[in-house]
Amino acid sequence: MSSILARLVSDLDIAVLERTPQGSFNMVSEMPEWLSTLIPETTVHHEALFLEDIFLFLDDFLERHASFWNQPTLEQITSGVWTEVLPDGKEQLLQATALFVQERPLLLLKVPFHQEAWPIYQHAREQRLENEQLVEEINKREVLLHCIVHDLSNPLSGIKGSLDLLLSEELVEPEDGNELVQLGIRQATKMQKLIRSILSTFANEVKPLVPTLIGEDIAPDINACMHEVAESLSATASLRDVHIKVDSDRSKDPVKVVGETERLERVLFNLVANAIRHTPKGRKITMSLREEGKYIEASVEDEGTGVPEDLVDHLFDRFSQGNDSIGQAGLGLYFCRITVEGWGGIIGYRPSASGGACFWFRLPKPIKNPPASE
């Protein structure tokens, strides 16, 4: 290697190795610090390294792509990121690329950008954990508050009942404080109303979401969600030779619906994952959107054999499950139903024109102007 190149490669902390016909590797570049700590000291000259013995991860990667080395190609293969623990306990992230340069078979080992970004991942996950714990804590307190308020109402009824009795049985003479008893009754009634209103507010809060409160500004974009889900499942689908098609442009104006992005994506995810399981090789799954008055209807259509008629009525029940053993869609569809219904929508099934299955759901459009909060 020219000295300039060698210097650059060393600055980038990349190890360049050349594959021998026997399947071992020789160092071509200078050996990066992290690599030297992993290589057994008995290996002099850094030649004939059997990488699969050093890295369990590469054992799998090299075996999986063994045919890559058969003849020079312009393509290259890059592995996913993996973690090695160095002898000093430090965790090192690595990534490998196999390629040919001037017909020489090379393997590059480098430190991916994830290493620098690690603290960000770490921080984000810790925050998320804390957030989940807070939400849990808030829920607990609300339930507790509910119990306390509920417990207050019983003795209060008792107090009010006693006062009513005092008055009706004329047990007190007007001059002895009839007015005071009436005052007591008025206050107790007021307090009962207060308790009732606290309890009913609480009941509203524990309903999943109050649809009318979701304004356009915070409502999720169902079009973007569809593309996101299609993307996240595309690799999985292509392994089964199934193609996922979204019927609308990603760049299209947002299509807002009542709901919450993450759970909406999970609903779509469940429906598409279900469709992938029931679609034969080489066929496609189509996701589409259309307007239905005050609603937006989303559908996921596959080219499988559809749902047998006797199962249709119970598809969205908690225990429902198709009679083939390909997978457990039961809880998945149940989750979709309670989520969609919680947002004031409906979910359903119809056979598609092609004879496959079409799962659809409708969600209300959000209100134009969210109510101004005080």
């Binding site: 973690t83 623990v85 849990e136 339930v143 995810f269 499950q321």
Partner: protein, 158 residues
């Protein structure tokens, strides 16, 4: 090892492979591959354990890592109901790639007190659907070896 972030995947592997545990949370990025030899019914077995990152906004599960595995542990955190939902999602993804291969739902952190909103009902339903469900604590070590050995046995049987 599949499961949401911070449910204890790395801790379980570390407890199983090296017998150690740490309170510190260091999130996993990509994959960590570990090896342990165990004996099942007098036969020595090499168990290769792929400890993967939990799925979230920043990192999706790399399906390359899942492919080729012969069984998986679906790990949830007993104190975090949300981790069960994530497990469902990951299970669906894994099933698409791997079909019906052995798996065990692992409820980790059994040393901690129950969450209020215990997900018992849902877990009971999964059990009725035929799922194999085990509880572990990477912290105390309870159930850890058993869960890996059970999976190895299931794999040997298929």
């Amino acid at each position: 090892m599949l499961g949401s972030f911070a449910v204890g995947k790395t801790s379980l592997v570390r407890r199983f492979v090296s017998g150690i545990y740490s309170e510190d949370y260091i999130t996993t990025i990509g994959a960590r591959v570990e090896k342990k030899c165990i004996t099942i019914e007098d036969r020595p077995l090499n168990l290769l354990v792929w400890d993967l990152n939990g799925e979230d906004k920043f990192q999706k599960l790399n399906m390359d890592y899942v492919q080729g595995s012969e069984g998986y542990l679906l790990v949830i955190d007993k104190t975090r109901p949300a981790s069960l939902e994530v497990a469902h999602t990951l299970h669906q993804k894994a099933q698409i790639v791997l079909g019906d291969i052995p798996f065990i739902l692992v409820i980790n952190k059994s040393d901690l007190p129950d969450a209020w909103d215990a997900q018992e009902k849902e877990i009971e339903q999964l059990r009725e659907q035929g799922w194999i469900i085990k509880t572990t604590s990477a912290k105390t070590g309870t159930g850890v070896d058993e869960v890996f050995e059970s999976l190895a046995r299931l794999i040997m049987q298929t």
